[in-house]
Subunit: 337 residues, 2 copies
Amino acid sequence: MGLLPDAPHRRLNRLTGEWVQVSPHRTARPWQGQIEETTPEKRPEYDPSCYLCPGNTRAGGVHTPVYDSTYVFDNDFAALLPDASGGGVDDGLLVARPERGICRVVCLSPRHDLTLGDMPLADVRTVVDTWAAQTASLGALDWVSHVQIFENRGAMMGASNPHPHGQIWATESLPNEPAKELAQQATYEGACLLCDYLAAELKDGSRIVDTNEQFVSLVPFWAVWPFETLVLPRAHHGALTDLGDADRDGLADVLGKVTRRYDRLFGITFPYSMGFHQRPTDGGEHPKSHLHAHFYPPLLRSATIRKFMVGFELLAGPQRDITPESAAQRLRDLDND
Amino acid sequence: MGLLPDAPHRRLNRLTGEWVQVSPHRTARPWQGQIEETTPEKRPEYDPSCYLCPGNTRAGGVHTPVYDSTYVFDNDFAALLPDASGGGVDDGLLVARPERGICRVVCLSPRHDLTLGDMPLADVRTVVDTWAAQTASLGALDWVSHVQIFENRGAMMGASNPHPHGQIWATESLPNEPAKELAQQATYEGACLLCDYLAAELKDGSRIVDTNEQFVSLVPFWAVWPFETLVLPRAHHGALTDLGDADRDGLADVLGKVTRRYDRLFGITFPYSMGFHQRPTDGGEHPKSHLHAHFYPPLLRSATIRKFMVGFELLAGPQRDITPESAAQRLRDLDND
Ligand SMILES: O=P(O)(O)O[C@H]1O[C@H](CO)[C@@H](O)[C@H](O)[C@H]1O
Ligand SMILES: O=P(O)(O)O[C@H]1O[C@H](CO)[C@@H](O)[C@H](O)[C@H]1O
């Protein structure tokens, strides 16, 4: 492309319609700011004080059963509740509405010491099946418009417990981020924005991280977080529930690969928030909606130096310090097995 | 209003058009996650190792002069540069453009140990004058469309040096956040969205924090961060450059008040990112654009427990755990002098 690789520029996030400022020359700046603590790496297979380990007691005295696969339960401290209550307001300036939802916790493994990257492939496949089954059952509720599956990994990303677990928040309304992406996909002039984007990325090659027959992981052209990745099915699938047997194996495989690369980048269990965007469950068809997962990892320079999304980023817009192409190159240079 | 105060609901940010999920019942949840370090509170008036203290040497051997008021200089590690270079790309999916900008650092005081909240009022007024003068001179450059003034305070907010300082990033393009706010203001059916909003808030009273003759600080109805505030002139001013003498005194006064309340909330120098949104300098009139400052402080429960904007927040939309009304009440209950 015609850009000088180290000149400051803006890139358009085609999926949201928003811009990111890229400042590749800026990594030279010295860092005297906050240094993160690294959490001790060696965890036991079972931790008697962990409320997510099989057989232990959770807040409020609830018992976690002795599970041996994935295990899903309703969050004891749910941010959303299934019962509608209260009225709303709308005077044109102050606008509020009651909002129903269901919040669940998904223990990815009974083992306290494993992560998506070191679980056996068959167990990651079970996680994929669990996510798909949850999407189906929550999405089938007539008032649920959107099923948000996500994982906050690491204390730096607000995880309150190191046991491998993710969450699912099913909501009555379509949230901001999927709404933006849906609008961009719906107004795309071709058949599918992400199908065409994936074809362009595969042709270019410079931002691809891993591929298999069904899935591709890449650092998006418009990545905000230093080592952000996007995971996409090659075929036009709208939701996890659309994936067949081979697709699910392909997704499990690519998730293992990208997280193992992450863990090798700075030699720690790489913190991130990740999650899926899929077709809303509001009853609409959404034929142009293309399933994908975003990984948003905060680390920039080392295990202890993160990217802060603060002043300019919060008030104006995101800014990144390394190019997506160089991030992809660094991830590709690591082993994925 | 008709909402049950502790029922989960969504509120519309009228200024951006985006929603925030409010989950007031959720503060009961136990926290076993990350605990922030508190930085030692007592700083010297002058720190020989601080590159922002008067007379010291910065990166690259540049000398900081012996200044005795505010002091502005071009950032030695600017994210944006004033010289355009490189071409762009735009194939409809991969879209990038060179972006020019100027990044400056504003030392708020020569004293290493002071903050906006404990500087004498006259010195905060000097800071206001400096911000206005920078807005005028940067905005006068024909290629500068937007002047973003901000301060990242505290290691938790990515500040790389505890010396009281803010930044200014003047850019060729209008960034995402002001663009959203500008669009909402421009399409508002009345004369000014924020004038009407301020009148509604003054009438209601429950979210007001401080007032003086010229300015008001309040926790916005749609606040995302636990103790977020919005600072507004009562009169319809579009930019810092429009403020007269009394307005500038009023702004200095209200900034001192809100930051002193913040510092008393958990007994530490309260971390935050803050910044101004003002009329773009792109040559347009923007008659409906109303000057304001946002304060985005991350702390939630104590000096060491922050709100994490992670999985659901990054992938779906913001979520808060206490109501804006209760946050305003807690701030009002503290002294502001
Ligand atoms: O320029 P500073 O203070 O070194 O850097 C800080 O503020 C910038 C602007 O918000 C951010 O991009 C950086 O991530 C943050 O560490
Ligand atoms: O529900 P958890 O894991 O306790 O909480 C974590 O994830 C939530 C969803 O992203 C966030 O709202 C919280 O700030 C974060 O600490």
